[in-house]
């Protein structure tokens, strides 16, 4: 009897909580939508107020109304690509070592260390960049200034490494042990098995790792802003990597504090934000599409 009286109350409570949880579950879609809406709201007017020819010119000089975003896009590309090139061999090498070569106890030491790197705030890396790395590069590479795209790329590489290591290591770990045993049974050495069997089997996961690493480098703000010298200029030649640049993220961070709300300058900074949003959207959707496809194929093969 008591149970029966309790039951409806329980049911109602359950329904209420279930609906609350559902709403929370949908919230991520709402937030992505809100972010897009507010970026567009503040940034799109730039396309109307600022002439397109000015936007795609090569000079960024907001005080005189010159809003050429090409140098900024170039700066971001230069730093991101160099950072990826630096991070790739170290990130993938470390992931392969942790997953395939290292004995268990070394693994247990290495993984927390990589996590420490992931936990260090980018402003701290930027600080060390200014005080230690910048003077070192100036002396070591004999440059007029150590605040260069290269310095930024080194720091960004460091920031991208934990992402690459953890995602790539996960990918290698999901390769069934049978693959490795088969490789070894055929007489291949462990080294040959790693490169001939395990890494190719994990290649989509590794690709995802690389893409997420690129995404991480692309969106990084503070460290790059502090060490790349803040010079929004197009490159003069091949040695642009050893000259100061300015990325899209750094431009927003360093100028948004000083602009008047609603001014052209303000709108263009939001427009750059829209570009960054879309870039990260493309990178992340591609990365997740690649890994889903791989998972589905793996399920087919193994079943």
């Amino acid at each position: 009897m008591k149970e029966n009286r309790m039951a409806p109350k329980k049911q109602i409570g359950d329904t209420v909580i279930t609906s609350i949880i559902k709403v929370c579950g949908y919230s991520s879609i709402l937030f992505v939508g809100l972010i897009l809406v507010f970026l567009l709201k503040e940034g799109l007017p730039a396309l109307k107020d600022v002439p397109i020819t000015s936007l795609f010119s090569i000079r960024w000089y907001p005080i005189e109304g010159l809003f050429g975003i090409l140098p900024l896009i170039f700066g971001t590309l230069l730093v991101t690509i160099s950072a990826t090139l630096i991070a790739l061999p170290f990130g993938l090498g470390t992931a392969i070592f942790i997953s395939e070569v290292a004995p268990r106890w070394i693994k247990e030491i290495l993984k927390p260390i990589v996590e420490i790197l992931a936990g260090i705030p980018s402003v701290v890396l930027g600080f060390i960049g200014i005080l230690v790395i910048v003077p070192f590069f100036r002396k070591f590479l004999d440059l007029p200034t150590g605040l260069t795209a290269f310095t930024g790329a080194v720091l960004l590489g460091l920031i991208a490494i934990p992402t690459i290591v953890s995602v790539a290591e996960d990918a290698l770990n999901t390769v069934p042990p049978g693959y490795r045993q088969a490789g070894l049974a055929l007489g291949a050495t462990r080294w040959q098995t790693i490169w001939g069997v395990t890494v190719p089997a994990a290649k989509t996961g590794i690709l995802t790792a690389v893409m997420l690493g690129i995404g991480r480098a692309l969106g990084e703000t503070m460290a790059v802003m502090m060490v790349t010298g803040n010079a929004p200029v197009l490159p003069s030649g091949l040695n642009a990597i050893f000259e100061p640049v300015r990325t899209m993220t750094a431009t927003i961070a360093s100028e948004m504090g000083e602009v008047a709300t609603g001014s052209q300058h303000y709108q263009v900074l939001f427009l750059i934000g829209i570009l960054l949003f879309l870039l990260s959207l493309v990178i992340n959707i591609t990365a997740s599409a690649v890994s889903t496809k791989q998972r589905k194929r793996a399920e087919r093969i193994l079943s």
């Binding site: 879609i29 070592f97 200014i130 080294w191 960054l276």
Partner: protein
């Protein structure tokens, strides 16, 4: 005989060289991390004193302590937790326990992946547009905390989902067969089992929020405050932004104070990291399934 062994020996040499190379690459990756942390501790520790931790900056930041920045970061982290923990855990529960494998769920997943990938400075722009200007919160602790919360959400959602998924299905079956409703099963059986994983995720998410600068640049951080903030509508100093200020904006900044401030933030952030690691490994050791 020797001609047969020749290629074999060669592959052995290649393997040895290859493994050494991998070891070297790993060392080159890992040693700078340890060196960095050790260097900051070495350079920052001498500036630690009661006064450094409990006084406000004076003489244009060049003397005194960093109390307002420490308190500010505590406020922002707490504020972030207040919004992102209930929302993120609930969303994680939804995806792990309720969501079906349909188009809507896939859309939610894509949204979470994208939230995780959006550059932090874009969160700053969003916070400025929505919280500071549109909702008229001004540059305030409230606006900055909300901005950081949304940035932290994907971490908390994904780790909650993962933690709940790892609870074996038999727990759900047994609880339901004893007459528990779905929510009772989740609340009394599944959540307690997944709790260590969820807490680990929350701490890692908040750790990231505590160290972020770009999202609070235009939503709540301020250069200098003579007094501590008294309401959520006040702007605040914060450790990460303070580090940016004293390392780029103030000429002649004493190096001791700079490293001391960096060390405080590092202890704060890596301390959270350590707690998360301990919770995770203890739960793993105690787990019976």
């Amino acid at each position: 005989m020797s001609s047969l062994n020749e290629p074999r020996r060669k592959t052995r040499i290649v393997e040895g060289l290859g493994f050494s190379l991998l070891r070297l690459v790993t060392l080159v990756t890992v040693l700078p991390i340890l060196g960095l942390v050790a260097y900051i501790i070495f350079m920052g520790a001498p500036s630690f004193s009661w006064q450094f931790l409990t006084a406000a900056p004076s003489n244009g930041m060049r003397e005194g302590g960093i109390l307002p920045a420490i308190i500010g970061t505590l406020y922002l982290t707490l504020g972030t937790a207040l919004f992102s923990v209930p929302l993120g855990v609930a969303a994680g529960i939804y995806i792990a326990e309720y969501a079906q494998d349909n188009r809507l769920t896939r859309l939610i997943r894509i949204a979470i992946i994208n939230l995780a990938g959006i550059p932090s400075v874009v969160y700053g722009l969003f916070g400025l547009g929505l919280f500071v200007l549109f909702l008229k919160f001004g540059t305030s602790i409230l606006a900055a905390s909300l901005t950081l919360s949304i940035m932290t959400l994907p971490v908390i959602i994904s780790t909650t989902e993962e933690a709940l998924r790892s609870v074996p299905n038999s727990f759900r079956v047994v609880s339901t067969s004893l007459g528990a409703t779905r929510w009772q099963t989740i609340w009394k059986v599944i959540l307690p089992q997944g709790l260590p994983g969820i807490i680990t995720g929350i701490i890692l998410g908040l750790e990231r929020a505590a160290g972020e600068t770009a999202p609070i640049l235009f939503t709540g951080a301020t250069f200098f405050l003579p007094e501590l903030p008294t309401s959520v509508m006040d702007s605040t100093m914060a450790l990460p932004y303070h580090i940016f200020v004293i390392s780029t904006q103030i000429p002649g900044m004493p190096i001791k104070i700079q490293y001391g401030t960096v060390l405080v933030l590092l202890i704060f952030v890596l301390g959270m990291n350590l707690v998360a690691t301990i919770i995770r490994s203890r739960a793993r050791a105690k787990r019976q399934w």
